[in-house]
Symmetry: C2
Subunit: 405 residues, 2 copies
Amino acid sequence: VPGSEVDVTVGLTEDDFRVLDAGDSLNCARDKFDLQDESIYLDGNSLGAMPRSAPARLAEIARDWRTDLNRGWTEHGWLDLPLTLGDKIAQLIGADPGEVVAGDSTSVNLFKLLGTALCLRPGRRTILTEDANFPSDLYIARGVERMTGGAARVKAVPRGDLADAIDDDTAILMLTQADFRTGHLHDMAALTRGAAEHGALTLWDLSHTAGVHPVDLNGCDVDLAVGCGYKYLNGGPGAPAYLFVARRHHDTLEQPLSGWLGHEQPFLFDTEYRPATGVARTICGTPSVFGLATLEAGVDILLEHDITEIHRKSTALTGMFIRLIDQECTADGFRIVTPRKDERRGSQVSIVHPDAERFIAGLADRGVVGDFRAPNILRFGFAPLYVRYTDVWEAVTQLKDVARA
Amino acid sequence: VPGSEVDVTVGLTEDDFRVLDAGDSLNCARDKFDLQDESIYLDGNSLGAMPRSAPARLAEIARDWRTDLNRGWTEHGWLDLPLTLGDKIAQLIGADPGEVVAGDSTSVNLFKLLGTALCLRPGRRTILTEDANFPSDLYIARGVERMTGGAARVKAVPRGDLADAIDDDTAILMLTQADFRTGHLHDMAALTRGAAEHGALTLWDLSHTAGVHPVDLNGCDVDLAVGCGYKYLNGGPGAPAYLFVARRHHDTLEQPLSGWLGHEQPFLFDTEYRPATGVARTICGTPSVFGLATLEAGVDILLEHDITEIHRKSTALTGMFIRLIDQECTADGFRIVTPRKDERRGSQVSIVHPDAERFIAGLADRGVVGDFRAPNILRFGFAPLYVRYTDVWEAVTQLKDVARA
């Protein structure tokens, strides 16, 4: 990991960060995003930055709409975008071609796959999850519970109790790989294995890991997954999300949001639903072409780089940020709640402080964009494609100033 | 209705259509769309034409994304778009402010509202619909049926049997106002009244009527509705859809796709779901901003015109098309399956012919875009904002040629 060779006994200086930027194998990537040079944007885990190619993609779709009207669906591949873009996203998350579909929102996709899981594990009632999971994931699970009239029930337990809570009634273990508040990273392989030992499926939400972490769904034998398009995938405001279903489930896969584009032959307009082959049957309505186009712009940039390199830089940025906070801000009452162990840390650093909200506002005034998460968390996300090591230095310097102002 | 004064005893000539164009109160509207002058586009009920303002709207969102990044959600009103744009759409469908939300696909919205209906009518099991309803609507209803484990059941009957099939077990009568194949228009007021007499709710799919027909949801006491954004609303390929919930149901409204942006305070990231006030609780995930922006461009044009005028022209265009087919194509084996009664006809004319698919392809080669619907329907949609009366003349002339080639 870059930065690990910096001597910690003498203290970090701004020069150390300059040296790291100069040696950064990803330092050409920032230019692929349309960011102002002075922008220190540590909120790419909320909304990623804009790929320079995005406006041209939008203009291209508009041109095709104008010129070819309804023929665009076939002539410009719009109808196939959920699958063709899905295949690109698959490369980021350790999935195979034909296992990923892009479209809808993360929450809608979660609903589809929870419904799928209950069908794949008939007789089992429990949707097991972590009580600190992303709220929308919890809300959607409760929605499934209500809709099934109690045939499914949600069991939300603290992180430490998860492994023991898996039992023979568990249909699905639903978790978010990286905690949105703290950045804590679950052990996907171990938890998936634990679930499988009880015959339970797993559903991973990759919203805070895909694009920065070498997610390995098939390597971990994951069954189902969803993820967000507008965070580290840089797909733009409200970009479509995606879902994954492992190939071994494709033949028996059944999902509740059985819309027309998941039909085997949608243009027959048959009154009977016959699901398409494979993951395509998870498609519901007509694909949102503009959103998919900007998402593709973001995904294409990620595919130009090695996810291992991206992750190495993520670990270095977050590690250096933690070291610098330790060095510079000990007297300021900050408490880092993000795991210090590299292998347990997502691409963010979260710090607890009673004045978190005020400090985040103060930082924004100084051009450093982080995020406040109620009630008391300062959250800094590090998108390795466009965050510089000197941004870490500058952010901590400004944070110290804000805290002492 | 324009055209009704044309003397039918002497036969229609091209001049009649030129005269109608010259007197058309909407003839300034076509210029608001980016269409080639020679384009005869009779497929706006599949994908509407592009508003000239759409590319600038896309560029504006891209600029705001680049410049303001995550602040765009509040500073540029992105988060509120589902409701602000919903209020605009409400004006097109006889709804009040605060009753409509824009977002997701028509199918996803249908699922939400079928779930809502079952909650609003506990103890009732039947989702009653027409067997010729749009296939996706039928598929989604079956998805609801499966998800509830049979607590709900779909009953699909022929159009003529609908009124008699409503009974005290009917939770919801789900219909599409205009049939996508034939253009047959249901009597919304009568069917809604019939349902209410049995204590059943109604859910209308407005995909083929909103934007061309003066839909009057509240005037008809409709309970629930959904509609498509990319047909007569001209929202662009795969534009978000919308849904309507009558205000009287807002306090008790509960829907299964309870995502984070339907929460009363989404940014508290509370683990317990507390639904937002009113129709906002039907919002699920993060709004798709680019799609909503182009949809708004389309809706804004509609709001610049009087829906009564638009409907009058729709009736005239379809009526003149039918008269001209009767006059010119009697020998060609065409059978018009669209109702001849103005009040029963949507903004399309559908013609049955064994060679329908070949004829539609031949027309496309001659620059007249219609649509083929299996197995034997030629479908022509008339978007009054950009279809000219002379397009009717030209389309029929070309169709006659194609049929006799």
